[in-house]
């Protein structure tokens, strides 16, 4: 009860929150000041980020959205389960909102948790058109806290989205500052030998990829709740309180590794759905994901919320403090992550068998023919069945039979070596906690109260995540959105999606309208999410109970990948007649991603 009272008091104190059943949002040109630079952008109700929309589970909300721009706009309620014509994707759910027009969304709130909203038109979202959604549950939360804060991250770039897309199309490495240098070539030669180094470079050249492609958009300033690192957004607390932090990654392109030195974080929710609590030292938040954590600072001191980008090219920073103005040390960025040959494991034409267990540091490859003979013409029809590191059957059932006489001191230390099964073995992206402690893995996410009964899927759909970095084209099964047929699902079926990442980049795949049941090997406890990250060189499975008629967007949530074609329309056929898709009613004039 204490927690409820706390959150009610807090919402009353927050000027941005709204409590009524009817809400107004205006879409405006705004000024965005990151501390590093000032730029014009797009926001809601005069600011970017927009307000925190506070809803209550069970209410029906009416949201009047007025477009004050001189271009079309739209709002997508990311992660909310609603009728498809309220989902806000121009060309799929509705035609979009014209300049000067007010569009009224109306839908029932059937869930609780932390979500967000953003424009689904052009590059308005990277330009600043996003905000947070907090939904209070009907019953009590399965955890307790005295205070809560939304912690919404973004990667604010001085260039506009349109300009970034143009530059990437013209020169895909335009924003990639981490490219390897001639100097590095010679230091690799002295470490690994000339032939190995040349082979490595040639292999990467053949891949149409650059080894440092962890982030294809660098040069941003990380913001938390609209504040740059020097502007230092600060949340106040009293020592001993439990604080719920609602992390939302609203970045266009950037994954963040988040830690609060000095505090354990207990993850209680992922993508708005409660998970069995797990205490971690650090976690990685994919683009469009949300994680809710509970922290309990006991001391009268400030703590830094430090969010390093996955490729270490930038960071966001905020502070939790007992008093305004207090701050703690800001850690240094760790060394830039470098992709390894393991991250190419999903590239077509490669022999996966010989990849596993390879020592990527030394690039000691005995089968050089495999590499030089790598041809893109052989892309089709490869066998991913022996893909390493993703064998779910081995994930949970540890062999406990050899426990007796075990040294438990060593046991505890041993757990730090556990590699994350959601990364290719030897991946340069494998996360490690800065303090050597626990780093959250997808494998740790277990549903607190599973929404669906576990059942066998009715069929499997394979989606290869594909792209050509040299032309900055991104696609699914080698076909971009504009050339692709929609994915047709039948109401009532349970589809198993198999994502095979054949690119060198991580893709946060977001299916609108229906939950993504992520296969972490926990059967009925598999968590439900709205965004599922697929790391390079890996295969990830998710299942979907097809329970929402209509037509929906399904895409990589990296803004420039979605726009380049890693996007599909999903049509759900059948179901309650009144809600069936009336595709002909929906114009195509609103733009896509």
């Amino acid at each position: 009860m204490k927690s409820r009272l706390g959150s009610v008091l807090l919402s009353l104190l927050m000027s941005t929150s709204v409590m009524a059943g009817e809400y107004d949002l205006t879409v405006d040109r705004v000024e965005i000041d990151t501390g590093d630079f000032v730029k014009e952008g797009i926001g809601y109700n005069g600011a970017s980020p927009g307000p925190v929309m506070r809803f209550k589970e069970g209410e029906t909300v009416k949201i009047n959205v007025t477009n004050n721009l001189d271009e079309m706009t739209s709002i997508h309620w990311h992660g909310l389960i609603l009728p498809f014509n309220q989902d806000g994707v121009p060309g799929i759910s509705f035609p979009g909102i014209k300049p000067g027009e007010t569009f009224t969304y109306e839908f029932p709130i059937q869930q609780a948790g932390t979500y967000w909203f953003h424009s689904h038109s052009g590059f308005q979202e990277p330009d600043g058109a996003y905000g947070a959604i907090v939904i209070e549950p009907e019953g009590r939360e399965p955890f307790r806290y005295d205070r809560e804060f939304v912690v919404q991250l973004t990667d604010k770039h001085p260039h506009s989205g349109d300009r970034i897309m143009r530059n990437l199309k013209m020169m895909p490495d335009y924003y990639n500052r981490e490219q390897q240098t001639v100097g590095e070539f010679f230091s690799d030669v002295s470490k690994n030998g000339l032939m190995n180094t040349v082979r490595d470079r040639m292999a990467w050249g053949d891949m149409r990829m650059m080894k440092a492609d962890v982030e294809d958009l660098q040069g941003f300033t990380g913001l938390i709740n609209g504040k740059g690192p020097d502007q230092n957004w600060t949340g106040l607390f009293e020592p001993g309180e439990r604080i719920r932090l609602r992390f939302i990654n609203s970045s266009a392109m950037t994954y963040f590794d988040i830690r609060i030195p000095g505090l354990d974080m207990t993850v209680v929710q992922a993508d708005g759905n409660n998970v069995q609590p797990v205490s971690v030292d650090e976690f990685r938040i994919g683009v469009a994901e949300t994680y809710d954590v509970i922290v309990r600072p006991k001391d009268e001191q400030a703590y830094t919320i430090f969010a390093e980008s996955m490729g270490r090219s930038g960071y966001a920073r905020a502070t939790l403090a007992p008093e305004e103005g207090m701050e703690a040390a800001v850690p240094q960025l760790r060394e830039a992550a470098r992709l390894t040959m393991a991250d190419m494991g999903g590239m077509p034409g490669m022999d996966h068998g010989s990849m596993a267990g390879m020592d990527h540091g030394n690039m000691d490859m005995d089968s050089s023919e495999d590499m030089s003979g790598l041809e893109h013409s052989s892309m089709e029809g490869m066998d991913h069945s022996n893909m390493d590191g993703m064998d779910h059957s081995n994930m949970e059932a540890m062999d406990h039979s050899d426990m007796s006489g075990m040294d438990h001191g060593a046991m505890t230390m041993g757990k730090e070596d556990k590699s994350d099964p959601f990364y290719a073995k030897g991946s340069g992206l494998m996360p490690k906690a800065a303090n050597g402690g626990k780093f959250l893995s997808y494998a740790d996410l277990k549903a607190q109260d599973p929404l669906y009964e576990d059942r066998e899927p009715t069929r499997e759909i394979e989606l290869r995540l594909t792209g050509n970095m040299e032309r900055y084209t991104w696609s699914i099964n080698g076909v971009k959105y504009e050339d692709a047929d929609p994915i047709r699902l039948k109401y009532g079926e349970r589809v198993r999606f198999k994502f095979v990442n054949e690119t060198m980049m991580t893709h946060p795949m977001h299916l609108h309208g229906m939950w993504s049941i992520l296969d972490v090997g926990a059967d009925q406890w598999n968590p439900i999410k709205h965004t599922v990250s697929v790391q390079p060189g890996t295969t990830v499975y998710m299942e979907t109970e097809v329970d929402a008629p209509g037509q929906w967007a399904f895409h990589c949530h990296l803004s420039y990948h979605a726009a380049a074609g890693m996007f599909r329309k999903v049509i759900v056929e059948g179901g309650p007649e009144s809600t069936q898709a009336k595709a002909d009613v929906i114009g195509e004039d609103g733009g896509e991603a």
């Binding site: 069995q276 609590p277 007796s404 438990h408």
Partner: protein, 177 residues
């Protein structure tokens, strides 16, 4: 809420005892001096029903008199394994490491307890049996009683030390007055 020097010392001793026993479950318990002691059925003054849900208790606060012996009827009404454990926050913290080990060894698996595993000899005559008088560890649907005689220590909580549960707020306050 001041903690007396005696209590701090007791907590320190119990923590080091935990460390010394290399985290075995049997060895880390019985910190009676701080939180009270196992009660006798004949001295029970009243029965309090405590329901365990995912992941919270009902009620979340109880009041006892110093020296009172209470029978707790503990019922697990959730879908996950939960613990009811009477102790100081420091004792709970020490116990959480043991419980973490139980999860890592597959003793606690979401909604199930692996009883064979709990009985197993860890090689030093210890086991991960969860049989201390100040606590019960229950699967969904199970119920069990705990009879506890409280001391005058007011820094007592009942708590679930299944990893993450205490941190998420699965604890209740014991007010001694």
């Amino acid at each position: 809420m001041t903690i007396s020097k005696f209590l701090v010392a007791a907590a320190a001793i119990s923590l080091s005892a935990t460390a010394f026993a290399a985290g075995t479950h049997g060895g880390g318990h019985g910190h009676g001096a701080a939180s009270g002691e196992p009660g006798k059925a004949s001295e029970v003054s009243r029965t309090i029903t405590v329901e365990m849900y995912d992941n919270y208790y009902e009620p979340e606060s109880i009041t006892v008199s110093p020296g009172e012996t209470v029978r707790f009827m503990v019922e697990n009404k959730g879908n996950l394994v939960h613990e009811f454990n009477i102790g100081t926050p420091e004792m709970h913290e020490g116990h959480q490491e043991e419980m973490m080990m139980m999860v890592e060894h597959g003793v606690i698996q979401g909604g199930k307890l692996n009883h064979d595993m709990m009985e197993m000899d860890m090689g030093n005559g210890q086991s991960m049996k969860h049989d201390d008088p100040n606590s019960v560890l229950l699967e969904p649907g199970q119920s069990q009683e705990v009879i506890w005689k409280f001391s005058d220590n007011s820094n007592i909580e009942f708590a679930c030390n299944v990893p993450g549960h205490y941190q998420a707020g699965m604890y209740g306050d014991v007010k001694v007055q």
